[in-house]
Point group: C2
DNA sequence: GGCATAAGTTCCTTTTCGGAACCTGTCAAT
DNA sequence: ATTGACAGGTTCCGAAAAGGAACTTATGCC
């Protein structure tokens, strides 16, 4: 199977990764969540080549994760903003942060933590079931594919 | 910047993705969570080339996400199992599933849902703060990098 | 001896990536 | 009027990674 055939799979993991499973994509989206919106800024912060960045932005726009909109005329310049579909990726980003903070040690003591905007106190992200409030782990949950 | 320099970044997103941000890696791990442990089975299910699969399994073992252990002697054969560090990736996988189920429509009506192992009822995964129980969104949380 | 199995490895072609230079509109200064 | 700067790309080329198929190794079974 080729990577591009992935979007036609029944498995939601495969379909999700066909959009965000790419090498640079989630890093681009991280910058978008931080309020970075412009090509030049993203390119410089990430060190990604302009060629690849242009390609990723195109694909993310096509997937409805980002939208491209003008912020000035003469000359017309565009910036990239998260759509609702893009903002819905926040839990994925937070899960990666939480896992990396716990399991991929930083090179120096320089970790980044999540804090509440209101209180400024650290956040401890846990995935729970909205119905019961119980924590979701691989032991409590299973996948079901309707036939 | 090259992809391989990513693991030395201060940002936990970059460090996390240096392990799991690869094209096939999360799909391999999906199979591991489903109990698939052997090279041949993973290769056939994913349609990944043997070459790339061998490489990914090596890297995942080196990262401490999978461990390789013999399940028979003569000839000695190994299988791959999730370590604790690997199992800790379950929230990432679930977040991707949830996002794809909501935002990346399946080609036919063939979605996969998550259900409780105990009760069999559907799960609604939400990322919450273990301290307060409140839902985590990009509006309620911000990243803090200690200087 | 011949075949099957599991887990790779090797070889070769195709695709993607990294790096640098170039292009396009517009304004502002020389 | 020419030159330079800025922003958002595009083009070109060599390098790295992925796709595809065949081959290897160790062992047991017929």
């Amino acid at each position: 199977m080729k990577w591009n055939d992935l979007q036609n799979e029944a498995c939601p993991v495969a379909r999700g990764l066909s959009v965000i499973g790419d090498r640079w994509t989630m890093l681009v989206l991280r910058d978008c969540f931080l309020g970075i919106r412009r090509f030049e800024q993203i390119q410089e912060r990430l060190g990604i080549t302009r060629h690849v960045l242009a390609d990723r932005l195109r694909k993310l726009e096509a997937a409805g994760v980002l939208r491209r909109e003008p912020y000035q005329e003469r000359p017309v310049r565009h910036e990239y903003r998260l759509t609702e579909r893009g903002k819905a990726l926040y839990p994925v980003l937070v899960s990666v942060i939480e896992w990396a903070n716990e399991h991929v040690p930083p090179p120096v003591e320089s970790s980044v933590t999540l804090v509440s905007r209101k209180t400024g106190t650290p956040i401890a992200p846990v995935l729970t079931d909205a119905n019961t409030g119980e924590e979701i782990t691989h032991r409590t949950v299973m996948a079901l594919r309707p036939e």
